[in-house]
């Protein structure tokens, strides 16, 4: 019994397994086992993966950290990159401008979180509202077209392998390496596991939080800029990306309580979601049915992958479950700025 229970599969395995099952079902339904479905999924997934990686970094920085501004920043990135691209005639400047805007907007969140001590969800919500106002103003009578060079690159798939997806895979390898092998990565995850202990160990809270939120903003804007070049810029382009980015990060095995980031899981989750959409379209489900099934799946994943074991053995609880239990406790009585100050003053 001991051997089997101690083998723990990598956390990203489940999301890929789910994606493969959906892929096989798609083949079964469509009757053709072509690589087209896979190519299409890999053409669309990278945008979600980019947003998801940013969201993953934010969520790994501890309980309560979440970036709800990604959707609006995504849309603005799309509009801005094309507007600047049209104005200057250079798509490089367009994308750079969008990323800069993402950086500036997430800087608002960072200042609000660190110096006004606003809870992250409200701070990023405020940023999201400000961003959407800029987008709406910008989109008034907006007409612009993406540079054909970017568009053809995003559609370019030599031997059925989308080049853009390869770039994002390389970026995922890089993020994975950063998290595992660099001081920054280890510090960020340690901060996510136990904020106070990490701070006593000399890890700077402002630096850690600033880096993850700024990265998330830049990645969302970049993904939006590229997505707009792929289809067309639109104020509502990013709307689906908020819920989807959070869902794929969690399905991918990243702990919502922080401290464990699973970059490959984001890929698995994104492929799963996109293949599922394709499959449901194929068998003629309406958007209503798709949405319902997506929700049930997220809840089912939560039920299976929840913090406590389904079959609880009395007295023989694995250390892992103790840790997750302790984390949930931390999440519940997370020392907010107020209470921690209060406690310190109390004799």
């Amino acid at each position: 019994m001991k051997g089997l229970s101690e083998i723990s599969p990598p956390p990203w395995l489940w999301s890929f397994l789910a994606a493969i099952i959906v892929l096989l079902l798609t083949f079964l339904v469509s009757g053709v086992g072509g690589s087209q479905t896979v190519t299409l999924a890999f053409t669309i997934a990278p945008y979600l993966v980019l947003v998801g990686l940013g969201q993953m970094l934010v969520m790994s920085a501890g309980p309560g950290n979440i970036d709800v501004s990604v959707a609006k920043v995504f849309s603005l990135g799309g509009l801005l990159s094309i507007a600047i691209g049209e104005m200057t005639g250079s798509w490089v400047l367009g994308i750079a401008g969008a990323m800069l805007a993402g950086l500036a907007l997430s800087a608002i969140s960072v200042v609000a979180i660190l110096y006004v001590r606003i809870p992250p969800i409200v701070a990023t919500l405020a940023t999201s509202l400000i961003t959407s106002a800029i987008s709406l103003t910008l989109a008034k009578g907006f007409q612009g077209f993406a540079d054909p060079a970017v568009k053809s690159f995003l559609n370019w798939a030599p031997f059925g392998v989308p080049a853009f997806a390869v770039l994002v895979v390389i970026f995922t390898v890089f993020v994975s390496w950063l998290l595992k092998r660099t001081v920054w990565g280890v510090q960020t995850l340690a901060f996510g596991q136990a904020r106070r202990a990490a701070e006593y160990a000399g890890i700077s809270a402002p630096r850690t939080l600033a880096v993850v939120y700024l990265t998330s903003g830049v990645l969302a804007a970049l993904a939006g800029a590229l997505r707009a070049a792929f289809s067309a810029p639109n104020v509502e382009l990013g709307n689906d990306y908020l819920l989807d980015s959070i869902a794929v990060v969690v399905i991918g095995g990243t702990l919502i309580s922080g401290g464990r980031a699973v970059p490959w899981g984001v890929w698995g989750g994104a492929l799963f979601f996109i293949l599922l959409d394709g499959l449901l379209n194929l068998i003629g489900w309406s958007y209503a049915g798709q949405s319902m099934l997506k929700g049930l799946l997220v809840l089912a994943v939560l039920f299976l992958a929840g913090g406590s074991p389904i079959l609880r053995r009395r007295g023989a609880r694995s250390p892992a479950s103790w840790i997750s239990r302790a984390m949930r406790f931390r999440a519940q009585e997370r020392p907010s700025a107020q209470t921690s100050r209060h406690r310190r003053r109390a004799p």
């Binding site: 969800i121 409200v122 400000i130 106002a133 319902m292």
Partner: protein
């Protein structure tokens, strides 16, 4: 927390109460300020008709904020309330008009579904944020299933209520809002169950030691949220006259902001019905203010966001001063 301790501040209030009440007062101040500014530009809003006009779009938001407040008092967050309220409007605008019994059953099922989410959160120790996120997909799906495009018609009794003119020229939206808030306040502050909800947020271990069931308490809290969400959906149907699942997806985040403005905390344990009402009205009045100032409605979200940051920054300053 201890009323007999020497740590008294702000006119003799114990520190705990001061921390609970002050943010709400600050938000009340902001709300009054906005109302006065609106009133100076357009004095007609101070009439019964004018007040009804500017307040009626806020009623559903205020009740949805109560729902969010109940959930935040146990330390959870509801990311699905926007689509839930939208889905309820589709049920009310279809079933409630044609087959009232079916409608009531469907709405009861909604409340039950909320309780089930509460059970999932408690039993499987999953974060409420993600569980309700998953649920929001389901609400959206069900809503689209019932009404793929906005439509339907609110039941006649709802229209009659919306048309009702109370005596003493009190605007009907204010009656509804204050009534809903008062009930929520009474329930949360004066009943045993309300106290259990709050202690589930502040100290679940202590609650378990009193012999209460954590599972049952959480399920009941979620059911209460669902019930208030249904009420918000009913009032929204009266306001928009029909059903549309995509009517108010923005409620999800606006309600959270309103509760925070009212003095609520993410850590739970704090129930701030009146503060949450002021928060909701403050955020809801933004539209009116911008229209009166002749500003583009595109700017509305930015002003809302800035107000949230400004009020919270103001609260930080006040807290520093009262320390």
């Amino acid at each position: 927390m201890n009323a007999t301790s020497p740590a008294l501040t702000m006119g003799g209030l114990p520190k705990g109460s001061a921390r609970r009440i002050l943010p709400g007062l600050l938000t009340l101040l902001a709300m009054m300020l906005i109302l006065i500014v609106c009133g100076t530009i357009q004095p007609r809003i101070w009439s019964q008709g004018g007040m009804t006009l500017i307040m009626s779009p806020i009623v559903a938001l205020a009740i949805a904020t109560m729902a969010q407040m109940v959930l935040m008092s146990i330390g959870d967050i509801d990311l699905s309330i926007g689509f839930f309220v939208g889905m309820v409007t589709t049920i009310v605008a279809t079933f409630m008009r044609e087959t009232p019994l079916m409608g009531v059953l469907a709405l009861a099922a909604c409340v039950l579904a909320y309780a089930m989410i509460g059970a999932l959160v408690q039993l499987r120790e999953v974060p409420s944020l993600i569980a309700t996120l998953g649920a929001s997909f389901i609400w959206l799906g069900v809503g689209l299933f019932i009404l793929p495009v906005p439509g339907g018609l609110a039941p006649d009794w709802l229209f009659q209520y919306a048309m009702w003119r109370p005596p003493f020229s009190i605007p009907v939206p204010i009656v509804t809002m204050v009534f809903a808030t008062a009930i929520t306040w009474l329930f949360m502050q004066r009943t045993r169950l309300g106290a259990r909800f709050r202690s589930l947020g502040s100290n679940p271990t202590a609650l378990a030691r009193t012999g209460a069931s954590l599972l049952l308490t959480r399920m009941l809290a979620y059911a209460t949220t669902g019930f208030l969400g249904v009420l918000a959906g009913v009032t929204l149907t009266a306001e928009i006259g029909g059903g549309d699942v995509n009517a108010v997806p923005g409620y999800t985040l606006t309600t959270i902001a309103a509760v925070i403005l009212g003095g609520g905390m993410f850590t739970g344990g704090r129930s701030v019905a009146w503060g949450a009402l002021f928060g909701a009205v403050t955020l809801g009045l933004m539209t009116v203010l911008l229209t009166l100032l002749n500003l583009s409605s595109n700017l509305q979200p930015a002003v809302q966001g800035s107000i949230v940051i400004a009020v919270l920054a103001g609260r930080l300053v006040v807290e520093r001063l009262t320390r």
